[in-house]
């Protein structure tokens, strides 16, 4: 019975067999943190404080996120290891959105509950630990490679490290706001870790697979 359950989970693991899912998430986190850093550090009156620049930036990012992974799948993954069309209910977006909403609500609650400590960086660490926990759940559930546990450890330890960094050091990143700086650092950490993890998966995928001869189809 366990073997059947494991086979039923194979297509979910297949989605990230090439690391493209992580590359996309990593790109998104780094792009958001870059935008946050620009908004925090650009001089007053800079285009980065205006709505048009924001819309163009986010629009371009969404276009890359939408078409980039599709292009990689179409040109590299499908010719090598095959095409899969997933049922809508099985996408990972629902749990990811739910996780983000819960994390945001928890952080907001914590910040509002402790108004006198606006400079605290705990919310960022809390989100980091939640992210690490949800990533660990994903690894255990769909049976990803064992080395992915290192990603969980790096994110968890990194989040705790950000939380214990001196407020002025963290704040220097984002116009002397330690909370904003902590979130920027946290997103940079996610982005960098996911990009590295996705990059390694992609490299391993290219190394261990090759497109079959045309008649194999």
């Amino acid at each position: 019975m366990d073997e059947i359950e494991s086979l039923l989970n194979r297509p979910k693991a297949y989605y990230n067999i090439d690391g493209v899912g992580e590359l996309a998430m990593g790109f998104m986190c780094l792009a958001y943190s870059l935008l946050g850093w620009l908004q925090a550090n650009a001089p007053k009156g800079s285009i980065w404080h205006g709505m048009p620049a924001f819309m163009i930036y986010v629009g371009s990012m969404c276009l890359i996120l939408h078409y980039g992974p599709k292009a990689i799948k179409k040109r590299i993954t499908y010719p090598r290891t095959g095409f899969v069309e997933y049922p809508k209910r099985d996408t990972l977006w629902r749990p990811m959105i739910l996780g983000a909403v819960v994390s945001a609500a928890l952080s907001a609650g914590l910040m509002v509950g402790l108004r006198r400590h606006w400079n605290m960086t705990t919310p960022a660490a809390l989100i980091g630990l939640l992210f690490a926990a949800s990533y660990a759940y994903g690894i255990a559930r769909i049976g990803m490679a064992r080395w992915k546990w290192a990603v969980v450890c790096v994110v968890a330890l990194g989040s705790v490290a950000i939380a214990v960094l001196p407020a002025d050091v963290v704040g220097a990143l984002a116009g002397h706001s330690s909370v904003r700086g902590a979130f920027l650092l946290t997103f940079m950490l996610y982005g960098a870790v996911l990009l590295v993890s996705g990059g390694i998966s992609f490299w391993l995928y290219l190394r261990h697979t090759e497109a079959p001869a045309p008649e194999a189809q």
Partner: protein, 98 residues
């Protein structure tokens, strides 16, 4: 007959064969996939895979669509409603038997 033994006897023999069981489980979790994906995941050769898929198609559990990806022929496969129902029933029976 002992009810548990009866449950084992009732297992769908088309699905119960290990190769076809793998294919049914893989296809159950997706809407459609191509021949190459099934070959990659099961490690079967083309002949064996084709033979199992033909058997499942005959039973009405799998539908096959021949199409093209660019200029390359592509075979898309998916479970029919009857195939999904049969696989769910098979899992229930197997759980009952175990």
């Amino acid at each position: 007959m002992n009810p548990q033994i009866r449950t084992i006897a009732d297992l769908d023999r088309v699905i119960h064969e290990p190769g076809r069981l793998m294919l049914m489980a893989l296809l159950f979790a997706v809407d459609r996939s191509d021949f190459l994906y099934l070959q990659h995941e099961t490690g079967m050769n083309k002949g064996t895979l084709s033979s199992h898929l033909s058997r499942l198609e005959e039973a009405g559990y799998v539908e096959v669509e021949k199409t093209y990806r660019g200029k390359v022929p592509q075979t898309l496969l998916g479970l029919t409603a009857a195939g999904r129902q049969a696989f769910e029933q098979y899992r229930r029976n197997l759980r009952g038997a175990l």
